[in-house]
Amino acid sequence: MSRHRSVRGLNYDEEYDDYYCDAYGHSVEDSANFCASPGFEQQYMFDRSKSTAMGDYIVGTNPDEEDDDDDDSDGKDKAMSRRRLDSVHVEFPSNLSPTSEARLKECLEVLRDISGESIPEPFLLNAAIEANYDSNIALQILHDKPRNTEGPSIDIVREGSDASLDDLKAKLETICREDKSARPKVLDKLAPSTSRTASSSKSGSSCSTPRMIISPSPSLSKPSPRESHKAKLDPVAEYEKERKSSQKQCLNMVVIGHVDAGKSTLMGHLLFKMGQVNQKTMHKYEQESKKVGKQSFAFAWVLDETGEERTRGITMDVGLSKFETKTKSVTLLDAPGHKDFIPNMITGASQADVALLVVDATRGEFETGFESGGQTREHALLARSLGVLQMGVVVNKLDNEGWSKQRFEEISHKISAFLTKHVGLRDADVVYIPCSGLTGENLISPPTNDALKSWYSGPCLVDVIEKFRPPERPVSKPLRLSVTDVFKGVSSLVNVSGKVECGFVQAGERLLIMPQAEQCILKAVACENASSGMTAFAGDQVVASLAGIEAQNVSLGSVLCEPQCPVPVATRFVARLVVFGIEIPITRGFPVIFHQNSMSEQAMVVKLIASVHRSTGEILKNKPRCLLKNSSALVVLEVARPICIELYKDVKELGRFTLRCSGATIAAGMITEIL
């Protein structure tokens, strides 16, 4: 039962994510009690293991169980036909006879004609096979079977899935009429006449996300086990089939650390050694960098690609690259270390599952980076608050220190103390590796240098990457794809890159872009780290080609979602802040910059509701006058314009944020209520 084991492992990750979630950013003084009370955590953190979902997840892969279901499903044929469909393998069956194949193609043609682009190809294929190539039956199946992953109630909305925006507005209108509180979030944008801020200021209840109204998603409400079983099966099964069986595990890894620690060089060299950069290109970089007197940056040029970055010898924006290890397909995000580019580092870190923290071992340099003005600490704290739970600490440039064991240990101890006490990482989740990005020592094979060999027998960098455990991917939640870049493709399509935060998406789907409330059709999705070109799942970095929209209607921070499950849009919300080591206290009226994924926006702390205990969440004082460093509080925030947000307990990736002011990160936060 290897699969079971891996599933458990994933669940375990999720659990301690929740458990430790509150622990980052602790000051030394209160480190003694940094575990959160379960009661409070439960209130704010989403924990899959607490719902019945996990059990279903496992059961759902059991074929016997499926048959049982089919037998007694007469009364619920609609839902069941869906289920039967989903359990059929989607691949074009390889054992098809020529005649069958011809019939299948013919049937598909008919289906395509009739459905237009409203139904993704794999579903057509499924239906065609299911119907034994009879297009009429297949159509019936398609009609009966809402392909959405949500509960059965979705049918009502899904009917006529090629609805125009007007229809959508009308539909959302009807849906929302039943619950007034949903109105401001989605409809205000759709109906431009109503003033968004004015109307949204007074609402906000537990039932504030439209998604919940349309169809309580199994992960959010408490459905009966059977229901959630059916709803869950689809994406999970797809995911299993697509990823777990054939492919390597996907891992998003960000490389962080103080400027000039050697991050880009390390990664450039690693990519070169892994065969991702060919000899010729590398030679070219060597020659060209020599010409401009930046020879030592040749490897960094692999990732620092703009002219500005190369001439200045400094990374400014995240460099994206990929490579494969034995068991993993790694998407590499090389973050800039310079203080001024922390917003870009945040973009990178929020897409990452794990991090490599690179420090310069050179005497004096490590100390500078680790002091309060350096970025080593800030990066580590940020990465942790953005969901990174496993870290490799690369003690780099150890060649400069004669591969001294003593220096390595000195640095490891200092960092270890900081990571466990302040950042809130578990010792077991941090590995320390002596390296040299320049000479390539200990990158992909055990050390060859005698000085290092004499005392080090631990893993090399790639071994460490191998051992990282990818987190569980929330594939069964409603789709949220957050946009990190918009650019032109070869055709007239608008290309966006971004990360699938949760759910999954298939080429051919009609999607809604929020907060712009524009509809588009997804023509293609290409994953950065998986070969499939049809489907992308939670955790994937993708490039999506969109038809039916203009480039100006998508922006950084836009979220693509299914039209019937729009992501909440708001300007005001309640959040729980974890305040960092700030110089100046936070009061109401405090202007801040709100960072969420790749988006940043002017925002303001409009109200300090209460200061709370950092670990227990217990209210210490109502309406405090100000928030001092290393405190924690409930506040109301207002951003300058509507943005896509989720409650932290629903979708972590869109429910957490960081606040910055005057070039310093002042707090991390979780959204607890949308107003």
């Binding site: 500005e308 460099g319 100006q552």
Partner: protein, 382 residues
Amino acid sequence: MKQTYRDIDKDGKGQVSLMPEESEDLWHAYNLIAIGDCVTASTIRKVQQESATGSSTSSRVRTTLTIQVEAIDFDTQACALRLKGRNTVENQYVKMGAYHTLDLEQNRKFTLFKVHWDSVAIERVDSACDPTQHADLAAVVMQDGLAFICLVTSAMTLVRNKVEVQIPRKRKGNAQQHEKGLHRFYDTVIQGILRHVNFEVVKCVLIASPGFVKDQFYEYMMQQAMKSDNKVLLDNRGKFLLVHSSSGFKHALKEVLMDPVVTMKLADTKAAGEVKSLEAFYVMLKTEPSRAFYGLKHVQKANEAQAIETLMVSDSLFRAQEVGKRKIYVDLVDSVRDNGGDVKIFSSLHVSGEQLDQLTGVAAILRFPMPDLEEEEISDED
């Protein structure tokens, strides 16, 4: 602003004639005129005239009217001030009590009559007429893809233009789109500068950004100016000053105005002074919280104890619709001054004034700690 006449008696009753010379002066006027005041100014009135035959024609005549103000409207972007009220001095065209709307304009004198000129109002007139307080300054705060072109005068910070251009990020093997996007962004900012910055008035143009954006932009702008032989930019080369800011958002102006390079070049501007005072308040809040208070209730209590060393008030509080409310704050100001305290009236149009506005509009640094006050809950005023 020029004052041409002033006659205020010992009870504070009287009139002042003022000539707004620049758009900022209309902002001052807006802060001076309160509902119930009388304003005399030249205006255009549409009048109906009946001819001997009985047919009526309408024509526009210029006349001087005095109205008692009932409504005040100010458009910050256009710096247009509009007053509505009833006529109080009958003339050949307009009956007593008839409604009229006065538009106050630059270079057109007006006379303001108040039953009571309080200290804050008189101070406003004086500072508005003080020519040494003028240091016109343009500032461009920017980051990749975002720029605010602002005009900073002694009493206002106006965002003249917000530029937003989406710049594709660098991508593997394709740095071109990124560079193209950058140039498009720079071009838009240059357009904005040319359109909104009047180099004849402005003494200095600050370009502020994190990282190298400012340097890159400036270099690009001068290259383009050279190419197109743009005299305006080339001749004013010396007026540009590059400074660091942590972001391209408007609030980063605070850091810019505090930058030593800027404060050295520009003698203390009012805007910079306000940033400094507010900063001092926050530092006190951190180091000695029982000596820093905000909110009317706390500040009044501190004043009763004669504890206030520095009082910061936003001018928005003096524009209160109810006369009584303005009086509360005027009394507070007077009382703090009587006790030897320093009073800073912030312009709500500057970034720090905006922040103070959100912080209830009033804050104080105390001479001595008042720990008891800390225990009292702040009320939800505002």
